[in-house]
Symmetry: C2
Subunit: 382 residues, 2 copies
Amino acid sequence: MERPVQNFAYTLLKQNGQARLGRIDTPRGAIRTPAFMPVGTVGTVKALYPEQVREAGADIILGNTYHLMLRPGAERIARLGGLHRFMRWEGPILTDSGGFQVMSLATIRKITEEGAQFQSHIDGSRHMLSPERSIEIQCLLGSDIQMQFDECIELPAERREVERAMELSLRWAERSKRAFDGQVATGGATKGQALFAIVQGGIDRELRQRSARALVAMDFPGYAVGGLAVGEGHDAMIATLEETLPSLPADRPRYLMGVGTPLDLIESVRRGIDMFDCVMPTRNGRHGTAFTWSGRVNLHNARHAEDLSPLDPVSTCPAARDYSRAYLHHLVKSGEYLGAMILSWVNTVFYQDLMAAMRGAIAEERFDDWAAETAARLAGPG
Amino acid sequence: MERPVQNFAYTLLKQNGQARLGRIDTPRGAIRTPAFMPVGTVGTVKALYPEQVREAGADIILGNTYHLMLRPGAERIARLGGLHRFMRWEGPILTDSGGFQVMSLATIRKITEEGAQFQSHIDGSRHMLSPERSIEIQCLLGSDIQMQFDECIELPAERREVERAMELSLRWAERSKRAFDGQVATGGATKGQALFAIVQGGIDRELRQRSARALVAMDFPGYAVGGLAVGEGHDAMIATLEETLPSLPADRPRYLMGVGTPLDLIESVRRGIDMFDCVMPTRNGRHGTAFTWSGRVNLHNARHAEDLSPLDPVSTCPAARDYSRAYLHHLVKSGEYLGAMILSWVNTVFYQDLMAAMRGAIAEERFDDWAAETAARLAGPG
């Protein structure tokens, strides 16, 4: 048996234009990039069995520090053997730092140099997240790829405000790195685990580049682009990527946080992004919308009520071929579990297949052609 | 390939005391009895894939006429090829007559000799169910075992009221039979499908026996005991079975409707019941309670919060062995889909395994010993 790689390492296998085919090795297994990470917010990719997530082709999933620290608690998960064992996911797990959810979910927040004070959205209890505590929690969870603690602000925002948050995030990046190195030194983390930095700066080219340069100087094993998909729109997001990614080193993976639609993914991979996470496939599934190779399908729509055709005959997900649209329409209208289960499954498979297709197109050096064909297909009527 | 039996037939294979091992042959496959039918109310056994229901060992499931007539509608399901195809269940399906749900779910009901007028609990629309319309709907659904339309009243009730409803149900049985025979004559049903009568009469011995005798004189291929598990308690229910079942012919299957707990099932099989349906395994699963071979487990209970042991190490359901109680506690507390999915699955498997164990005990002529041992196990702390 081949001994698994014990260190974190990114290998750029092939480049086609700016699109990158690669592999991240971790002690828990390899991640084929470009990769999409299903979101397992509170320790479960919603409405899916972990076997379905794995079989869909996901090499890595994401867990949310904010949710897990509140319930069941990071120390509790550590006592139970870590997040992997807790949720029965043997592959790599990336955890965010909690910063984004503090801004979007918690109430009565106070941001200081030290960190963020907030109240739980579950029970109103008071908590503090700082770079040091965020890293401590991520280590307690046993996260393979950890994220620096950052301040993520909503757009549009004043440039001065964007700059302040970006500068604060840079100082928090340093503290996050020091905390992570301390965890490695004391056995709370291993060298096989990695801490990624997060480039901030809104949609301002100069701020983004300043953030990227400062973080690259700190030498992280991977870099995320944060603070996008928060209201700026697809074009501004892509423009920001084009302005930011050249400042990042080619030998490190690049992760675009919280993105996005199939088209967002294609255009971001084209600019050189390697990793994504987004709740879109599962959230849309729960709300009755399916992603298919002929476009999005809203199963609430009455036109499906007597449609015996399958959801997506070319999907690799059996459920997309086996159930009629009429039945899925009925399940969605009736608010039945099975509707959310099937659509979350179909969408999770679609996203993984989309990534696999992108990897194939880069390997064959025809990414642009593939992207044009695929964008046309996905603009279909569903 | 063996040609499937084209007629409905019950075979009593073995009797141990009053407990009966048997088989019901239908054109869609055999039903091993005693059988438990998972309830697929609106065309889905809640929170389970149909493959899981089949693999759990269920030979037959139940569909609800009331729910399906309101949404998506019986005529629509017929246009879509029938309920089996609609919900991807190839085995036999039993449908109730809608009478019970009209009483328990609908509003502004008016019961006349003709039938029941009611308003939908979904959108308030007005509907009528009569013996003729109930049979028509069950034929449109393509039900393999159909139930006569009856009036089911809540207990306790005045004897006079119980008698009135029982007598009305007898007249409705005749009309149901005539309607079903008419459907067979005109091709709306086949001889391989069957119509069961429902014995009513509350917990009154004389009324029950009068109902049973009158229905037996009409010669149905199967008889249900209805109107129990509606507030009378376990002992009164079992006493009523003891008083009623001797009036039913030994060569026809006997179905106890809407029952029940594991102990209810065991004690009813001991008295000679062959078929059951109940929402208990799935409803309890959605609400965080598991049935295990060492008793019921309420996963909400904080004592499970750090319990790494599996839910039920002797279950044949992989989920009962693979996930820790701590994780299930977390899922249930967090209201996650996966909690309901896992517990509904575990409970559905438990109920099927309980029936299989009863069939085995009857075959080995040790039902009473088995029942005593099992009752002791199931009284455990979970």
